[in-house]
């Protein structure tokens, strides 16, 4: 009897070991490191209590990058939640060659971020195609320095994040769309509902579970944005495109302040945790409401 009770956990064990080794153990260690002055070379770091946190809260740059991270979140997440819905509706049509378009939209997702970053960097360049096109369209008189002036750099990078992420969330929505029964649309058509009203009153409400998942995933992804910044701007000019993860990376691997970087990492963890909790409780309520 007892043996039966433990059998399922035995099957969970391999997963637990992997999670423990690569997620939970490093996480606990980071929390410990954030209380020390560890610099990767000395073998026995000194315990410094909450010094790293105190320093962090007094660092103007930390607050600046935190603000920019939140800005990133506020702009990128709506883009990643709503644009892919329309993309998914577009590629959900039964027309010839549709699988080509589906793969084409998905292509950026599987392309290496470094390649994407460099390609976009060229497009954004002073003599790049973007400035060229805007110029012949008469929108601008002289080239815009997208990545090299403080007012536009972070927004230029956001565009790349959205562009690269869209295909991935599109696939999630596509699965959701295909689960919506056709008779609902049929009924709506008989009632004379326009295409737009069908989207608002059938598609969006029935996609709600997918929208929830995409919101959580894209918020967490936006909090952790790093590669595009590293490749495209290096956080510059004047740290105007730096975000929290990039800041952590700089502290850890350029300045070798592992303890300090871990402290910033713990803060990032707490922020992400709060987001996840809000999202999950919201989702549970919704589910209960639906069941009830």
């Amino acid at each position: 009897m007892n043996r039966l009770k433990f059998t399922p956990y035995l099957f969970l064990l391999p997963g637990c070991i992997i999670l423990g080794a690569f997620i939970f153990y490093p996480m606990l260690q980071a929390i410990w490191l954030s209380l020390t002055d560890y610099n990767m070379v000395q073998q026995n770091p000194n315990f410094v209590g909450f010094d790293n946190y105190v320093r962090l809260f007094q660092d103007d740059l930390f607050w600046k990058v935190l603000g920019q991270t939140i800005l990133y979140l506020v702009i990128v997440v709506p883009g990643l939640v709503f644009l892919p819905i329309f993309l998914a509706i577009l590629v959900n049509q039964q027309i010839k060659g549709i699988s080509f378009f589906r793969s084409a939209y998905y292509l950026p997702v599987v392309t290496s971020m470094v390649v994407v970053g460099i390609a976009w960097k060229w497009m954004y360049a002073e003599q790049g195609i973007l400035n060229y096109v805007l110029d012949i369209m008469g929108v601008i008189d002289e080239p815009v320095h997208w990545l090299t002036q403080t007012s536009t750099a972070i927004f230029a990078v956001m565009v790349v994040t959205v562009w690269k992420g869209m295909g991935y969330y599109m696939v999630i929505y596509l699965a959701g769309l295909q689960a919506i029964p056709d008779d609902l649309y049929e009924a709506a058509r008989i009632d004379g509902a326009s295409k737009w009203r069908q989207i608002i009153h059938i598609t969006i409400p029935l996609l709600m579970p997918s929208i929830m998942i995409v919101s959580i995933m894209s918020s967490i992804a936006a909090m952790k944005v790093f590669e595009e910044i590293y490749v495209m701007t290096g956080g510059g000019p004047l740290n105007s495109s730096s975000t929290l993860v990039f800041y952590i990376y700089e502290q850890a691997f350029d300045n070798l302040e592992m303890g300090y970087a871990s402290a910033a990492g713990v803060i990032l963890f707490l922020i992400t945790l709060i987001f996840s909790i809000i999202n999950i409780t919201f989702m549970n309520k919704k589910e209960e409401a639906m069941k009830g």
């Binding site: 064990l13 423990g20 990767m40 990545l147 090299t148 000019p237 004047l238 740290n239």
Partner: protein, 430 residues
């Protein structure tokens, strides 16, 4: 609820088990200290495979023949990964015995007391074999943390086609910052291209300041000393170049790779890029054919940048004597001379420099030959302009931020300089 409890317990057990494992391994590694038999030295280089595989393997086999009780295990690491790999190796107590590192990164580890002091490990006679300027490049707080391997001095590469297009005389390349700005203006007006691309990556802002005659810190290295007319001139100079669109905007955020890319695509007239001549030859043969080398652009101080590549021996090595022996062998005159025949670099061993290879320009000289001869000619006045400093990265970033603010006209050059001084004094007093 019960399930969650059980799950947490399992997680905790896993974590504890892992913690126990990690303790074990550190005890284990100290036990093989007294290995009486053959010593194995692990030697890391920075991106030398496959171009220099034959050369390095040749040096290793010569060494092993002379020292049958030592065997060398060669590991080649991509340049971009070297810093991270060496850090993780040091932090997990598995550091290699001999590593090729640059002074900047070497000084970071040396500041944390991670490298063998070469002043103690080498005799005076052994030390005297090396070029003085190169030896001094690796000193931090009075200790020498590395042996110089190979050197280079900064040489300007010029694109003859752009000179001609702009109506400039290719026989008179710019030697001063003023001239460089003048040429940049002419090139811009005549061709629409950029004449000059001074990179501001890495320590280059600091180097420009020193060349223009500013001192970075006071003698003791405790206070910033660059808030002077010379320092201000540097800030004003780059602000003017940037404001008048005489240098590419990417100078602010781009790294050196971008400089090379733009030069290789024929969009830049001249830049300090002697280190990259082989790359340009391979990737842009047309531009290479138009390229000629000239002496480094400098300012009031007349100083020229010397760059040094090192070999270091981490403290964690179990065979310090054998490691130092190999480092000396690798950097002896014979081996260095053979290396410099393969790639345009200068040897750090004095006697190798006497070879006519470094003083006589061959007939039908290529740009590569010109780079080598020009670089060697400058060696007596070249020096490492930025000494190894603690918290170097923060200092460098503070200066870069300040000059960026001036160039983007968010502050006046004087305000930016004041800000940099304030930041430096704060960092230096840490």
């Amino acid at each position: 609820m019960k399930n969650i409890k059980l799950f947490s317990i399992m997680m905790l057990v896993t974590v504890l088990l892992l913690a126990a494992c990690s303790e074990d391994s550190s005890n284990e590694s100290s036990s093989d200290n007294n290995d009486g038999g053959k010593k194995e030295i692990e030697f890391w280089t920075m991106q030398l495979k496959p171009t220099f595989t034959d050369y390095i393997e040749g040096v290793i086999s010569d060494f092993e023949k002379e020292n049958p009780n030592i065997s060398i295990k060669w590991v080649d690491v991509p340049a971009a990964d070297l810093e991270k790999k060496i850090l993780s190796a040091v932090s997990s107590n598995t550091a290699p015995d001999v590593v090729n590192l640059n002074p900047t990164f070497g000084s970071k580890i040396a500041a944390l007391d991670g490298l063998v002091n070469m002043d103690e490990a080498l005799s005076d006679e052994q030390k005297s074999r090396y070029v003085q300027g190169a030896w001094k490049a690796n000193q931090l707080n009075g200790n020498t943390f590395a042996i110089p391997w190979y050197l280079n001095t900064e040489v300007t590469l010029n694109n003859k086609a752009i000179y001609e297009e702009a109506g400039l005389d290719p026989n008179k390349p710019p030697k001063t910052y003023e001239k460089a700005m003048e040429y940049a203006k002419t090139v811009k007006e005549e061709t629409g291209k950029y004449g000059y691309y001074p990179s501001l990556d890495l320590s280059l802002v600091l180097q420009h300041m020193v060349k223009m005659g500013a001192d970075l810190t006071n003698e003791e290295g405790t206070k910033a000393a660059f808030n002077t007319q010379e320092g201000l001139n540097t800030f004003k100079y780059f602000t003017e170049l940037y404001k008048n669109d005489l240098i590419p905007r990417e100078a602010l955020t781009g790294d050196q790779r971008e400089t090379i890319d733009m030069y290789s695509s024929g969009q830049v007239g001249f830049f300090a890029g002697s280190n990259f001549i082989t790359q340009i030859k391979k990737n842009a043969p047309d531009v290479y054919d138009q390229t000629f080398a000239s002496q480094s652009i400098t300012g009031k101080s007349g100083k020229v940048t010397l760059s040094v590549q090192n070999v270091v021996v981490p403290n964690q090595t179990k065979h310090q004597d054998a490691a130092v022996k190999f480092a000396l062998f690798l950097t002896n005159a014979k081996n260095q001379l053979a290396f410099t025949k393969l790639v345009p670099i200068l040897p750090s061993a004095k006697s190798a420099l006497d070879d006519p290879y470094f003083s006589e320009l061959p007939e039908d000289a290529t740009a590569t030959d010109q780079v080598r001869i020009t670089a060697a000619n400058q060696l007596d006045k070249a020096e490492v302009l930025i000494p190894p400093m603690e918290n170097y990265n923060k200092l460098k970033d503070a200066m870069h931020d300040a000059i960026s603010a001036a160039m983007l006209e968010e502050m006046s050059p004087q305000e930016a300089l004041d800000q940099a001084e304030k930041e430096w004094n704060k960092i230096l007093s840490e």
